[in-house]
Amino acid sequence: MTRAWLQKELRDHWLALIVWLGFAAALYGLLLFGLAEDQARGSWLEAPRRFAIGWSLLGTTYLAGRLIRREYNSRTQLFLEALPVSRTRVLTTKLVLGAALTAGVFAVAIGIATAIGGATQAHGPRLLAFVSVRVLSVAWFVWALLAMAALLGRYRIPLLLVLGLALMALAQFTSLELTNLGPARLLGDELPYEDAVLPWAALAQTWAGIALCLGVSYALVLARDGLLTVQLSDRMSHREKVYVTCVLLAFLVGLGTLQATQKPEPFRLSDAVVAGKNGARVEVSAELEPELAQELADRMLRILESARAEVGLDRLPGLTLLPTRELDPDEAERAQVANASGVVLRAALDDPQLDSFRLTMVALHDVVSKAHDDRAMKETSHWMLDGFAHLQTARELQGEEGERLLWLRAALIPSQPLEPFLRRWDPAQEVLGTCLSGAAAASVLLTVETLAGPQARQRLVRRVLDRNARRSWLVADPTLEPLLQEEAGLTVEAVEQAWTQRLEAVRREHSTVLDPLRAARPELELRRLSGRTFELRHRLSLSPPPERSPRYSIRFGELGPMDVPEDENGFQLQQAQVGSGAFVALPAALVEGSRWMWVVDLPSPALRCSVRVLAERREIR
């Protein structure tokens, strides 16, 4: 009876099977041709591996549709029910025929690859046996899976998709690596070469998968006297298709969104000097001399702890400090750390010339900001964060001399109304640079302290950097007037008047230091290289010319269509001599219509930082 049954199947599908075999031959021929052209091929046995990946899915899908699904779709299965043959035998015959056809195709594929490659490559019987076992196991697994899916009728595609998506979700949210799982592992890159060890675990997983699929297939066929498979084979209505598609799409997008919202673990170094207390933690890479690293970690922890208490935060994110030789000693750079939280900075930590003020200020700024997911970086709050970081650092590191320096730096900026200056903080910061803008913001806080006392200044800082920053992104921050009124009992006019007077006094007192810096004259000119391309030439002169001509730096980078605050650390850098007279060309081709930003900074020993001389965004025309 089984033989007759097989003959029936072959009679039903002989033409389709010939086409199927022809198609397999065409695909394999193309793969072999591609491999022959591929100069980077390692082994001809790569061909059956690639064939197994492609044909297992394409060819087996067709085979399952033809041998199994068609029987139920066209309702000829009902005729078979009338014959004295059990449903189990019907299904077994179809499964065996499909498995034999699949195995035959892959056996021939391995044989051809061996024949072609045997001349130049040593393919021992052990290797061939390993390749055959692995390829055939995968092929039979796919056959069993798709045969089972074929019995699911109209729900086969959604269920296969859900299976795929569930595996993806599992991989996203656990440490599961799909490529190490059963069939995927069997078809790994090493398949054409590995003849020492068989991946037994993957083989066991694959065969367990085969057994499971076969079990489900038989259960489906036998359930409710075979009625279930018949009912499932009804065509899906258009409405059903639309709903299923929408649900799957929503599931897919939702999965991605869920992954984006996962909180990362804190960043940790394997070998570091660690200092921690209350809610603060500092790590310094062990690359530094142990004493220097410990001293740095302790000092930074003390400053962070003091800042935490000043702002009233419960705990601070971890700070990690890494040494580097790629930065000048007056630079400190923030790292973008994937899959980890906390603040990671790098600087020339072991350089004797290290600008401790800059490093501490940046660390403090970022750690306080990160404490509330960077909400303090909103433009309305940012001046307070900058001012607090500069003031706290100056006091901790330099004491009164630090405050004097802050006023000196702030005095270099032109007099202007206070409220719009602080409200429009992003452009102010860009035009003034970190040193001057931070000092200006700190000088405002110092003015409040002078007028209303240290407690009032602390309330003001806590209000913006803690209480406001705890609130939702959607809640707007209060403007300057009510802020000063509520926390310090001051008006904007009063603070502005006292601030301006103090700045004027500093300007008069230190005119010999400040005037030459104000007289710095940058000159930029665009020169056309060709129809669409330009170059930028620049020079800087001081009046009166200094005895020893310093070097100025120009940082430049290309902009997008919108204006957002730019990270100047990511810009390219060029340095040139002040007052040399000759223009220097920027090492970049500027294309017409593109937008660029450049900033020019001049180091000032008196101010102990680089002074922003020019900041410009320009469309190249």
């Binding site: 193309l30 001349a119 130049t120 003849d195 258009h238 170094l269 790098r346 204006d563 060309a585």
Partner: protein, 625 residues
């Protein structure tokens, strides 16, 4: 009556409307949770929604809606009912298309409104403008893509269940065409709305837009004719034919065409046939020789047995020296070595436990053994990591290449290009053109600079690792990489950190040593480095068929150096598809405009030393329209 029809259509398309709303809500919620909600909404998001993947997603949704728009009435038997209404099929068709497009546009408009509201609420003083022109341009271009996707879905829906397959074939055809001829990107409808800015302007691809809107409109007119006139008789026949007896032959035929197209992709296009070709005498294929040693199974062209003999004589000794240096034992089976050739520009290739080498690529036996040592190191590295974790070596590419080069140098110290690679690396660091960490992300390194930089930087990392932690250190890093409990799904930097951390080493410390080492290298060659000019490109006349790229130098070239150019089709082109480097003659290089994709020329200039090594500038894109 029209109003009733609109209401009916809206009811029918409700799942798509709900899907659009759901996706938008999810997007906004996700931004709110991650804190991206308030951070420069326009500036940060203007490009994100207009990526190729995003636009393709829109096309698929529009196609899905379009493919069911007319067939549903037919399938569910409601067409007869609609025919009994006092309204023609033309109106019915028009209402369906209009409502379908509006439903699709609802998601776009909603996104636009959400973005604008967020911008109004959170904008900073740096950019308070609404940029309405830019945003509306983007939305309209997306609308055009939806229109094209909808029209494609409607017209292909007449092919019944073959519609998705035909759409896939069309997509494949466009993909192959663009691969072969970059200028064919005009055929790609997703390129209509992919964000391309020039300053503050959106670069609208007018020709592409006109082409696709025209054919989409013609497709809709054809669909209208089919729907209005011949549906009941011929079309019903055609429908039955396509869904029945023709389905299998068409599937097979289409699949064969698809395979041929895939074959075309994997095969290099031959010359254009215009050049005169000398008759090429053919010789019989050389016989192959075999030599099995303890650690290798060599297969080689028999006429080259003398050239290969150093490998036979010294191969096992080389293996032992390599394995001793790495601290790993012998392999259970010999490494299969195919000496019949390697890929272009390579002396050898390594696989899991097989090697391919080109006997003719080496000068002498010493160099052959050096290549064997290099490739053997790759094999031993992969075996040490193990098959399950071997994929991780893709992310540790610089380490893998650096270690192989290090081993090769240790065993064969007279290799010619050692100092050259180091010099380039030191120069780029000194210029701040790149950082050591950039080598972790090989894709970005290739996109911005030069993929081959993994060799010198990787070698420098391994050298410093060995100097600081001893010769067993690389093996420990590899064992840590291959351990069973290693975390999965890590980005390249985390893979490096994880491997070094588990092995007990501090990656930052090693990188620090590399920086110091390369600083010293730079100091040694400072005079040469400072004297090297930095070339800048410009296009002489963007309207001609053969573009001349003028190379501008900001100083004279040292004796023996020259300027070279190389090109790519787009930012993400793989390095194997680059054209060049080619020497600039008379201050310029040439590029056939047909090889320029999306009217944007990608060019990279570099200066080339007499020894042949290149110092490249970053890639530059020059719009030609």
């Amino acid at each position: 009556m029209i109003r009733s029809l609109v209401r009916k259509e809206l009811r029918d398309q409700r799942p798509f409307l709900i899907l659009g709303l759901f996706l938008e809500l999810l997007d906004q919620l996700s931004d709110l949770v991650t804190g991206a909600f308030a951070q420069q909404p326009l500036g940060n998001e203007i490009g994100a929604g207009y990526s190729t993947a995003g636009i393709l997603f829109l096309m698929v949704i529009a196609f899905a809606l379009g493919s069911g728009l007319l067939t549903r009435e037919h399938e569910e038997g409601t067409l007869e009912f609609l025919d009994s209404l006092p309204i023609g099929r033309g109106w019915l068709f028009g209402v369906k298309i209009a409502v379908g497009w509006l439903v699709l546009m609802a998601g776009i408009v909603l996104e636009l409104v959400a973005l604008l509201l967020r911008h109004l609420w959170f904008h900073t003083s740096l950019d308070g403008q609404l940029h309405l022109g830019l945003l509306i341009t983007g939305a309209l271009l997306q609308g055009a893509v939806l229109y094209v996707g909808l029209a494609l879905g409607v017209v292909l829906s007449f092919a019944g269940r073959l519609s998705w397959m035909l759409a896939g074939m069309l997509g494949l055809f466009v993909f192959v065409a663009v691969q072969q001829i970059p200028a064919a990107s005009i055929l790609d409808p997703t390129s209509i709305a992919v964000a391309r800015f020039q300053g503050t302007d959106w670069r609208i691809p007018w020709t592409t837009l006109a082409l696709h809107l025209t054919w989409a409109t013609l497709a809709l007119l054809l669909s209208l004719a089919l729907f209005a006139g011949v549906w009941d008789r011929r079309l019903r026949k055609l429908w039955g034919f396509l869904s029945g007896p023709a389905a299998t032959p068409i599937t097979v035929a289409t699949s064969v065409v698809g395979l041929v197209l895939i074959g075309v992709i994997s095969t290099e296009v031959a010359g254009d046939g215009t050049a005169a070709v000398d008759p090429e005498p053919s010789f019989p294929e050389p016989a192959l020789g075999q030599f099995d040693s303890q650690h290798y199974a060599f297969r080689y062209p028999a006429p080259l047995s003398q050239r290969a003999s150093p490998l036979f004589e010294e191969g096992d000794a080389t293996f032992q020296r390599v394995s001793a240096l790495l601290g790993v034992g012998a392999l259970p089976t010999p490494i299969r070595v195919d000496l019949t050739g390697s890929a272009q520009h390579t002396a050898g290739l390594a696989f899991w436990n097989a090697i391919r080498m080109d006997l003719l690529a080496a000068e002498d036996g010493e160099e052959l053994l050096a290549v064997l040592a290099h490739e053997t190191t790759h094999v031993l590295v992969a075996q040490t990591v193990g098959a399950e974790r071997a994929q991780r070596l893709n992310q540790l590419l610089a380490f893998n290449e650096g270690l192989s080069r290090h081993v090769q140098r240790m065993l064969f110290p007279d290799a010619p290009d050692r100092d050259q690679g180091r010099t380039v690396a030191a120069l780029l660091l000194a210029r701040r053109q790149m950082r050591v960490e950039d080598i972790f992300n090989v894709g970005a390194l290739a996109a911005d600079q030069d993929r081959d930089l993994v060799y010198p930087f990787g070698e420098a990392i391994v050298q410093q690792l060995v100097r600081r932690h001893g010769k067993d250190a690389p093996r420990k890093v590899l064992e840590a990489t291959g351990r069973k409990d290693a975390p999965e799904q890590l980005d390249p930097l985390s893979v490096w950190q994880d491997a070094f951390q588990t092995a007990g080493y501090d990656l930052t410390r090693i990188l620090y040593d590399v920086q110091k080492d390369l600083e010293r290298e730079h100091a040694r060659h400072r005079q040469l480095h400072d004297s090297l000019p930095r070339p800048k490109p410009s296009v002489e006349d963007p309207s001609v068929a053969f573009l001349r790229i003028v190379t501008h130098l900001d100083g004279p070239l040292p004796e023996g150096w020259y300027v070279a150019c190389r090109f790519r089709a787009e930012a993400g082109s793989p390095p194997t598809d680059y054209e060049g480097p080619m020497e600039a003659y008379d201050g310029g290089c040439f590029r056939d405009r047909r090889n320029v994709e999306n009217n944007t020329l990608w060019v990279q200039l570099g200066v080339v030393a007499p020894g042949g090594y290149h110092v490249y500038e970053p890639w530059v894109s020059i719009p030609l329209d």
